[in-house]
Amino acid sequence: MIREKTDVLVIGCGGAGCRAALAAGENGTKVLLVGRNVIGKSGLTPMANGGYQTVWQEGDSLQIWGEDICHIGCELNDPALVDVLTENGAACLDELASWGADVRIKRDWDKGKTDPAQRFDRTASIPGKIMLSTMKKRIAALPNVRCRYYTVISKLLVSDGKVCGAVGLDLPSGETLVIQASAVILAAGGMGAMYECNADEPQGVGGDATGSGIALALDAGARAIDLEMIQFATVPHEPALVMGVRYVPPKSGDYVVNADGVRFATKGQGPYSNILAREIIAEYEAGRGPVRLLPDELPYQPPIHPAQVKRALTIAQLGVAPKQIPLEVTVGPLYSMGGVEIHKNCSTTLSGLFAAGEVAGGMQGAQRSAGTSLTEIIVFGKHSGESAAAYAAHAAPCRVNEACIAAEDERLHAFLGETGDAASTVGDLRKRLAEIMTKYVGVNRNGQDLLRAKNELDELRKRYRGLHVGTDVVYNLAWIEAVELGHMLASAEAIVLSAYTRQESRGAHYRSDFPERDDANWLKHVVIEKRGGELCASTREICRGDNCHE
C-alpha cells in the first residue's frame, strides 16, 4: 500500500483541476493533483474547441449575460453561482493570457452567435489544449504543487463528518494508494460515458467522463442537485472516424433532413437545443433515419483560433469535413448541468470537500449556455482552489479511518481473479449500462421507463458484484474500467432517481407523462443524497438573495 500526505488533494487534471491546483498552491499550500494521465492527455478539456464566453460586445453587460444564462437554464440556475461566473470570467481569461496563452476574440465576425438563444456574441477563443499547456507550465514552476499521474481515485475518506483524503489505485504498480489530505477538491468532470453515442468519445472506444465525481461525493455523504439535467446534442454518427467533427452550425435545425429528404426540424433551433434533440430522436424512432446534415447548404464558419485552423485542416485531410460528406447525425450526451451541490466558494455540504467544473451543479440550471463551460472550469477551478487552501490552513488534523481503508483495499482487490469462459466482461456490463441509460433515461423519459431503468440497473449491479478482471495488477485496463463502472452504476442510479422525482419537463429534462414546465411546483432543485446507505430524493428552493450562500 502506498501512503501520501498533502494539504489539498485535487482529483482530476482537466481545466478545472489544473486551475484549482494553481490557485490552491499559489501561497505555498502543499497540493497534490491526481489524474489518470498527464495534463493535456486525459479528461475532456483537451478536446474543447475553445469557446470561452465573456462580455465584449457593445450594449452587452454582465447582467444581460447572467439573464441569458438563467433564461436558457429555464430559471433553475442558482443566481449566486451565475454571478460568480459572469463577474470573474473576463479577469480569469486575462490571467490566462498574461501567463502566455494565445487568446483570440472574434470581434470581427458577427454573422451568427453560437447559440441563437443568447442575445449577444460573447465568444472568445482559447482551445482547451492551450489552456492546459499554459497551466501545466505554471504548475511545474510551483515546487509545492505535485502532479501524480496514472492514478484512479475510488473512494473518499471521511472521519467525524469531514473529508480527510482518498483511496485509489496506483496504476503502474497496481498497489492501493492512500492519500491523506486536509481538503479535497473534486474536479472529476462529467458523466457522458454512461450513454451510447456520447460526444465525449466520438470514436466509441472509451471515455473519461465516467461520473466518478458524483459517485465519490454521494458515497462520502455530500449532496447532488438536478442530476436529471443532461444536455443532449447533435453528434456525428456515421461514417466512422468523424471524430473532432463536432460541427455545430448556429442554426443546426435548418440543415438537417431525414431519410426522405424532408426538413423536419423547427426552424432556427441551435445546436444545443433540446427541442432539436427530441425531433432528431423522433425521426429515428419513426423509422425515418438516418438524419443527415446537408453538406452543400452548411454555412462557412471561419475558425477563430490558429489551433482551430489546424484542427479543421486535419479533418479536411481525412475527408470527413461536414462539407465533404453527408454527415449522419444522432443525439448524444454532451454535458451534465447537474452535479455536486456547491456554495459560491465551491464548498459542498460536506466539510473539507470542494467541487468545481462539470462535476458541480447549480450554475447551468436546466440547460447549458453554449460557450460557458470553459469559462466555468477556469472561474470555479480558481475559486475552489482558493477556498480549499484557506480551509486547509485552519482545518484540525484529521485521522484517516484505517478500517475503511482496509475495506476499500479488499474491495479493489476482489476484482482480481480469473474470468470464467461464460462470465460477463467489464465491457459487456458497460455496454449494457449504456443501453439502459440511452433507452430509458435519454432524451425522452417517463415514469414507467424510469422504474424499468431502476430495476435493470439493480440487475446489472448484481452482475457487477461477481465481476473479475484477470490477475494482472500492472495497468490492467479491465481493472480500471471495473472500478469506474462501480462509479458509473452509482451515478446512474442517482440520475434515474432524480429524473423520476422531477415530475415536469424543463430544459434538458423531458417527461412525456409531464410534458409541461411547471413553475408552480418545480421551480426548485431536486436533491439526491445517501442516507443510511440508500439514495434519497428531496427538493430545495433555489437560493435567491445573499444569505443562503453564507
Binding site: 478536446m47 472506444v205 472516424l241 490492467n476
Partner: protein, 103 residues
C-alpha cells in the same frame, strides 16, 4: 447517397511487454488503429494503451510507433490487407505494453 461499409481484413503485430502478439481482425472502412486496439481488447486481448482522449491528433495521448514511425493512432486509418507493426513510443520508460511514462 448510400454509404457501403466494406469489411476489410488487417493484421496487427503488437509489441506487448514481454512478447510480440499478432492479431488478425475484420474492420469497417475508416477504422483507426486506436479503434482496432479497442476491438481487440473487447475480444479479450488485454493490451494496455491510452484510449481515445481528443481523437484528432491534438492531445498526443495516442502516440505510438506504427510501422516504424511515431504516429497518432487515433487518425491512422487501416487499409485492407495491410499488416501493422505497433510498438510503444521510443526512448520512454514503458509502464506496460503501449503505455509509456511521461512527466
Amino acid at each position: 447517397m448510400i454509404t457501403v461499409m466494406n469489411k476489410m481484413k488487417v493484421t496487427l503485430n503488437v509489441q506487448k511487454s514481454g512478447s510480440m502478439e499478432s492479431y488478425t481482425l475484420e474492420v469497417s472502412e475508416r477504422t483507426s488503429v486506436l479503434q482496432a486496439l479497442g476491438m481487440l481488447n473487447e475480444a479479450g486481448a488485454h493490451i494496455a494503451y491510452h484510449k481515445y482522449c481528443c481523437g484528432f491528433q491534438y492531445c498526443n495521448s495516442c502516440l505510438m510507433v506504427i510501422n516504424g514511425q511515431l504516429k497518432h493512432a487515433c487518425i491512422t486509418i487501416l487499409e485492407d490487407g495491410m499488416t501493422y507493426d505497433i510498438a510503444p513510443w521510443r526512448n520512454h520508460e514503458v509502464i506496460k505494453d503501449l503505455i509509456v511514462r511521461e512527466s
